[in-house]
């Protein structure tokens, strides 16, 4: 299993290296002169030149590319052109908020999506099956920013039962920062009121983000279960008198769910994209709002760093997914893909 893990890690390196190169190329196609943008409208040519030297924008391209690679490996993304603070620091501060939201959505999506897909498959071509199928296509057709606004309108503005925006009631202050994840941080601080407030703030964003996930997971669980149900071992197990529920929930699901796990990995990318929209609507202080701010402020260093970090997180998740798959189905690690 360890060898499998190492090989899988090595396989994701070229893509990451390419990503670093891509972000560098991207930063070179900026039509506007970032140094001029930074210096402001009233800057003299001398001031612009000084800034150019300060950020290394006057060196040869190949040298800049190497410096870029070296800095990225060291976790140095430079200073934000907008705030003047190190980008890496700003990203680290915001990453937990996005991850907390994404994991909550992923958990929700799995908890609802897997049973839904299983039930649909067991009632193959029945009413429930058609409903789930329609829902799983429909769930992917809803614009997440629109769903977010609609949920806000109903639950925050009209019914006033859930908070409109943010991660925590401002009046409660904030817990000491240990992990950056609010749910564990508030618990560790022993503040149940804060914990409940954080949970309440998490509900609408997580539900919004989870919906496309529920759709995808339900769909792939359904087709996985349908395929497994046709296998011979299911017939034998039935003949041997295994109960319907036990057979479905334990034996079939375990065999079917490897497909779903792959999808969860692919879904993670979609979730991060969705998080940009959801964070923008709910003022969630994560990477998504950071990216949008960076766009509006033309802060290309920040934006490229976000692109890189998301790419790395995405790669890590996919390695984890492959690992999870190998654990569920040991044949995969042995197959030497």
């Amino acid at each position: 299993m360890l060898r499998y893990l190492l090989r899988r890690l090595a396989l994701s390196l070229p893509a990451l290296l390419g990503l670093v190169l891509l972000t560098f190329v991207l930063s070179r196609v900026v039509p506007g002169d970032p140094a001029a943008a930074l210096a402001g409208d009233a800057a003299t040519p001398a001031q612009i030149a000084e800034i150019r030297g300060q950020y290394g924008l006057d060196r040869p391209l190949a040298e800049q590319a190497l410096i870029h690679l070296k800095q990225v490996v060291q976790g140095d993304f430079g200073r934000s052109i907008f705030s003047g603070r190190p980008v890496a620091e700003e990203i680290l501060q915001r990453l937990p908020a996005t991850l907390e939201l994404t994991f909550a959505a992923l958990l929700l999506a799995s908890l609802i999506g897997i049973p839904l897909g299983l039930i649909a498959a067991l009632h193959h071509n029945g009413l429930i099956d058609h409903l789930v199928r329609l829902m799983s296509v429909g769930g992917l057709a809803i614009a997440s920013f629109w769903l977010a606004i609609m949920l806000q309108l109903v639950f925050s503005m009209e019914l006033d039962i859930l908070p409109l925006r943010g991660r925590l009631d401002v009046a409660l202050g904030s817990p000491p920062r240990l992990t950056g994840f609010l749910l564990p941080d508030t618990l560790l601080a022993g503040r149940l009121d804060m914990f409940l407030s954080a949970c309440r703030h998490l509900v609408l964003p997580a539900v919004t983000l989870a919906l496309p996930g529920i759709a995808t997971i339900a769909r792939f669980t359904r087709s996985g279960v349908l395929e497994t149900l046709q296998k011979d071992f299911v017939l034998y197990a039935r003949a041997a008198g295994y109960g319907r529920v036990r057979l479905a929930a334990i034996y079939v699901l375990r065999n079917a769910v490897t497909v779903t796990v792959t999808q969860i990995g692919l879904l993670f990318g979609a979730l991060i994209s969705g998080a940009v929209a959801v964070e923008a609507v709910f003022d969630w202080p994560g990477l998504g709002t950071y990216a949008v701010q960076a766009i509006l402020a033309a802060d290309y260093k920040a934006l490229l760093a976000v692109t890189l970090v998301v790419g790395v997180v995405y790669a890590v998740v996919n390695v984890l997914v492959d690992l999870a798959q190998a654990l569920i189905d040991p044949r995969i690690a042995g197959a030497g893909r």
Partner: protein, 276 residues
């Protein structure tokens, strides 16, 4: 086609798309107030839905029904252009990489992997920003981030067909690789490409709307659905109709493409058809 229409879900999708195409083609005649794409009438701002304005009016007094109708054309054009451009890049890349062995194929697929390694929206945002925001840049960014999906699809199909008996036979009677690829492999890969394109249309409409919503896509006053939802945010909870109808339009059009794509996928993949 006939088999497709036997699937009620796919037929529903096809119907929704036909309706949208009809609305897009005849938008100026169908919209009750076709000038409301750009005109404003501040005296009738934020009116709730009524017989006069079935979807209500927006913050500048424009008829939302008219703007939703007028926005259909842009949404479809953007999606068609993006998916078309992505196909023009992705299909040749997939064909060449799938046919040849060696460094070129490796290089092409590694580049594809790099683009697939970042979530599409983030890449589109970065590209869009770096090239000055606007609907043109947004379209370019979407096309540049969607072609890898075509490359992957066509690559897999080409690899599968390369070993087929009829391809061997064609090579044996002296057909050139270009001829085999364009006249024989490509038509066989067409169903997979079609499915990918249909799903891509829905996906592009969603992402383009999101870019408009975030302020890096279509610019005011164009009747862009995402932009309308974004403008509506400042007028909640009073004007519930303002974000509701543009969002529903996005939903219905994307739903149409997704349902059709779903149906087409079942037709293209007999294995799935059996398990349905």
């Amino acid at each position: 086609m006939r088999r497709l229409l036997r699937d009620p879900v796919a037929t529903l999708g096809f119907g929704l798309i036909l309706l949208a195409v009809f609305v897009a083609l005849f938008a100026p005649w169908l919209a009750p107030y076709p000038d409301d794409a750009f005109d404003s009438h501040l005296l009738q701002r934020l009116r709730p839905p009524s017989a006069e304005f079935p979807f209500g009016t927006d913050n500048l007094g424009r008829d939302i029904l008219s703007r939703v109708i007028l926005g259909t054309r842009d949404a479809l054009t953007v999606a068609l252009a993006v998916v078309g451009a992505a196909m023009l890049i992705g299909v040749p890349v997939g064909l060449v990489a799938g046919w040849r062995e060696g460094w070129l194929a490796e290089l092409l697929m590694r580049v594809t992997d790099v683009f697939l390694a970042v979530p599409q929206l983030i890449l589109a945002l970065a590209l869009g920003q770096l090239m000055a925001p606007g609907i043109g840049t947004a379209m370019l960014a979407l096309a540049l981030t969607y072609w890898p999906f075509f490359a992957r699809t066509v690559f897999a199909e080409t690899r599968r067909l390369r070993g087929a008996l009829f391809v061997d036979a064609l090579a044996g009677i002296g057909a050139s690789p270009a001829r085999i690829l364009l006249l024989h492999v490509l038509p066989n890969a067409a169903p997979a490409i079609l499915v990918r394109a249909t799903i891509g249309m829905g996906f592009t409409i969603l992402t383009a709307a999101l870019l408009g919503f975030l302020g890096v896509g279509a610019a005011p006053p164009s009747p862009d659905w995402g932009l309308m939802v974004s403008e509506a945010r400042q007028h909640l909870p009073e004007a519930w109709w303002f974000p509701t109808f543009p969002g529903l339009a996005i939903f219905l059009l994307v739903l149409g493409f997704n349902l059709l794509g779903d149906g087409l996928r079942d037709l293209a993949d007999p294995r799935l058809r059996r398990s349905r």
